[in-house]
């Protein structure tokens, strides 16, 4: 069954950049976009063990008369079939439910705040809740449309990082793009990362898919991020460390998202890998 990417359309120039990014992702991945044009400023997403209310800012409802034509135009230009999502169920009369049986979801860095307030280094709380609860990876798009021609996976050894690595393999296989892996060794020895790869039976895939495994043993983590190609789709796991893993993204994740402006594909703790 074809993969589906869920996209909430914002009918303004910023929203156009995000939709273009989704279209590009779908074309690369052979997925089909499912576009939701909101009629209300809030909706609910029911995940397996959480319900997240998304409170959109008013810009999502701007110019409703042109929203469909703008989105259709962009999708058709991208050569993709047009499919709009119409909520079938409502928790309250002005509170539609959005199901979560998608394979990907595209989000700007924040979907609850005005685009003018959003800057690098800020990921909104709702996007974080979605990442935390979703069974699918979340594509956090770069502020402006940006094509990617390679894949970069951040591998820190955690269970989520392993999932991110597997997703990287899959995307590399489906797109045919080269895959680089980045690891900041820190206090842990390199051997332990290699052991994780071995324990997870990923050695064969590492040899087959990975172009280069970049190991950062020295220097400040943020400074090392300069090595990440600016045209890479960055894949990484979130919420993967420590006792409070379900509350914070993880320190490395925060540094990455606040330092680089690439498209990010984030794998949360409830992500279920599909073949």
């Amino acid at each position: 069954m074809e993969a589906q990417l869920f996209h909430i359309f914002r009918n303004n120039p910023f929203g156009r950049e995000t939709l273009l990014q989704s279209i590009y992702f779908c074309k690369k991945m052979g997925a089909s976009p499912v576009v939701y044009i909101p009629k209300f400023t809030k909706f609910l997403m029911y995940f397996e063990n959480d319900v997240v209310q998304i409170d959109l800012d008013s810009s999502y409802l701007s110019s409703p008369d042109t929203a469909i034509s703008h989105a259709t135009e962009l999708l058709e230009e991208g050569g993709l079939s047009v499919r709009f999502f119409e909520p079938k169920h409502y928790t309250a009369t002005t509170l539609p439910d959005i199901h979560t049986n998608f394979d990907y979801m595209a989000c700007p860095r924040s979907i609850s705040d005005l685009s003018t307030k959003i800057g690098l280094g800020y990921i909104g709380p709702k996007v974080r809740r979605i990442v935390n609860s979703a069974r699918f990876p979340v594509l956090i798009t770069s502020p402006v449309y940006k094509e990617w021609d390679r894949i970069a996976v951040f591998f820190g050894g955690s269970a989520n990082a392993v999932n991110a690595l597997k997703l990287g393999f899959r995307i590399s296989r489906e797109t045919g793009l080269p895959l680089d892996v980045f690891t900041y060794v820190g206090k842990v020895s390199l051997e332990s990362y290699e052991q994780v790869i071995k324990d997870e039976n990923l050695k064969k895939e590492m040899d087959y898919f990975v172009n280069k495994w970049h190991i950062f043993e020295k220097g400040i983590f943020e400074e090392n991020l300069y090595e990440v190609p600016h045209t890479a789709l960055v894949i990484l796991g979130a919420y993967g460390h420590g006792l409070i893993k379900n509350f914070v993204f993880g320190s490395k994740m925060e540094k990455i998202q606040s330092t680089i402006s690439n498209n990010l594909l984030i794998v949360g703790p409830n992500y279920v890998a599909t073949s």
Partner: protein, 574 residues
């Protein structure tokens, strides 16, 4: 460290792995206590607010107080917590029906604050539905925090509702029965035991902090056979009052939504209207428990005309408060309207048959409350047990049963769905466990799609097709475009039998000529109930699933039935 890591997953503890029910019992105590505390917090806040505003009530401009309260309540819900107005009980039932009881954390406090503003300022509404919403959300979020499964979460939602009602009324049985009868809609021991425990916990916390008091104490009633016969008329009167209240609430809601003003302005208008009524008839203001106590105690010394007018005024005031955007529930207004209706009925009886020695008017007030609660909620057991517990009046149990049963039946005849369920039923969202709609809603096309079909191209010769038929276990063959692989139509063996037995056609016919292009197709996101409706309407046994013009598989009635049976077994098993 391991303890810290596993403490959020109690289901994995060795102790609870022996029996899941033990886990639910422990959780039920926690949920019952928390929801009981939430209910008490609202109760205390209402008393404090009422006392604070009491000194202003005799001033002429006091009519704006309910308007200000309703506007603030509406603003709080709309702008601060970004939730819709309303009491929230349908939302709880909807969540239990469709999403395993998942409720937002903000719901555990939002309605408490908003209803406190509405009711405390004099709006005609009750605090019970908000505390049900709050208790249910507390249960849901505790279940979520401890990563419990859907079934356990639904039970804890019920525990939260039971704990809240038990606490606010000091009535454990009513809390338990309300939760099972109205919220969950299924009587199963796996639910009943934890809910009973939560009801006890909620009641105990209330008794510890507020004392063990009967909410509405009353005199001894000596009921004879004639009084019981008279109850038949009261049951009809309360059923009529229930229907009038239900319809007026909905019509007020409709009228207010036709006005293109911000919701807080509408709430303020409704509240001010209530305030004006309250200037002349103070009984309509607030939750009205003082008036109920006076009526049950036989100290409500008003004549027939005034009591009848007060009944109508309370109906209108409740509709104005809740229909125009105020926050609160209908429990307390039902108790007030019911007792006023009972009192009106008693006055009428005395007027018509002055020589007969009727039972005390408080008894009719009490029966009227049961009749109205049962009629509005269409939950007779809740009505009976609630009134017995909050009045301590077990001696009225026989007329209580009669009034509740008749009122429920009459209301059900005129309005098939209760006040709480009407909107859900109209939207097709009431999915009680084990029902056809619920089973179908838990299945989806993606789960039961059959992908083992052999697709063929439109330019294929019949001769080649016959070779494919030989190896295919199916009678359906989807036809795709050679270049784009788009779905074009379908071939069913029954439709082409004539060609199959005519060898002259083997090299003369291509599949594009004999395929059926006018095929009803299914999309992967379609509801199964809709798919089945299409199949029945067109007498189909299988339908192709198509998305983006690509054939994905077949969906057949046989597979639906098979999955339906499995799902039904899961839902109806303990």
């Amino acid at each position: 460290m391991r303890i810290f890591k596993s403490w959020r997953y109690p289901a994995s503890w060795k102790f609870f792995r022996l029996d899941d029910r033990l886990l639910l019992m422990l959780m039920a105590v926690i949920v019952g206590l928390c929801s009981g505390l939430a209910a008490l917090a609202l109760n205390r806040s209402l008393i404090a607010m009422f006392n604070w505003l009491h000194k202003y009530h005799h001033i002429w401009w006091a009519f704006v107080l309910p308007g200000i309260g309703a506007a603030l309540s509406s603003l709080f819900l709309e702008k601060v917590v970004v939730e819709g107005a309303g009491h929230g009980v349908p939302e709880v039932i909807y969540s239990v029906s469709r999403y395993g009881g998942l409720l937002r954390f903000r719901s555990s406090y939002s309605r408490l604050i908003s209803s406190c503003l509405t009711i405390g300022s004099g709006g005609s509404a009750g605090p019970e539905a908000p505390v049900v919403m709050s208790g249910a959300a507390i249960g849901s979020n505790i279940a979520k925090y401890f990563s419990l499964n859907d079934r356990q979460r639904v039970t804890l939602v019920g525990c939260g509702a039971a704990g809240a009602i038990s606490s606010i009324f000091n009535a454990p049985i009513a809390g338990m029965v309300f939760s099972i009868e109205v919220i969950l809609g299924e009587w199963k021991s796996v639910n009943i035991v934890p809910i009973a425990i939560a009801a006890v916990a909620g009641t105990e916390i209330s008794r510890i902090l507020q004392g063990n008091q009967i909410v509405f104490s009353h005199l001894q009633f000596n009921i004879d056979l004639l009084d019981i016969f008279a109850c038949l008329g009261l049951a009809i009167l309360t059923a009529v009052a229930s229907i009038v209240l239900t319809r007026m609430l909905r019509s007020m809601y409709g009228i207010s939504h036709k006005i293109s003003a911000p919701i807080w302005v509408r709430a303020a208008v409704g509240g001010c209207a209530v305030g004006i009524i309250g200037l002349f008839l103070p009984v309509v203001l607030g939750e009205g428990y003082h008036a109920v106590q006076a009526m049950i105690g036989g100290t409500f010394s008003q004549g027939l005309a005034l009591v009848a007018i007060a009944t109508l005024a309370k109906v209108v005031a409740t509709a104005l408060t809740l229909g125009w955007g105020g926050s609160g529930g209908i429990f307390a207004p039902c108790l007030v309207i019911g007792s006023l209706a009972g009192l009106t009925y008693h006055h009428c009886l005395i007027l018509l048959w002055p020589s007969i020695s009727w039972v005390n008017e408080g008894c009719f007030a009490l029966l009227g409350m049961a009749g109205l609660i049962s009629g509005m909620l269409q939950a007779p057991l809740t009505g009976i047990f609630l009134i017995v517990e909050i009045t301590g009046g077990y001696e009225v149990i026989l007329p209580l049963i009669i009034v509740s049963a008749i009122s429920t039946s009459l209301c059900h005849y005129i309005e098939p769905a209760s006040f709480y369920l009407k909107e859900l039923v109209e939207r097709g969202h009431l999915l009680r466990p084990g029902t056809d709609a619920r089973v179908l809603s838990d299945l989806n096309v993606r789960e039961i799609i059959e992908e083992d079909c052999i697709t063929v191209k439109q330019n294929m010769l019949l001769r080649d097709f016959i070779n494919i038929i030989k190896i295919s276990p199916r009678n359906y063959f989807p036809v795709e475009d050679e270049k784009t692989n788009n779905f074009l139509g379908i071939i069913h063996l029954d439709d082409i039998r004539a060609y199959l037995f005519n060898p002259d056609m083997y090299d003369a016919v291509v599949l594009g000529q004999i395929m059926d292009t006018k095929v009803d197709v299914v999309h992967p996101d379609d509801d199964l109930s809709e798919v089945l409706r299409k199949m029945d309407a067109h007498q189909l046994f299988s339908m192709p699933v198509v998305s983006n013009n690509k054939f994905l598989g077949l969906i057949s009635k046989a597979t639906i039935l098979d999955q339906y049976r499995k799902e039904l077994v899961v839902q109806t098993s303990q």
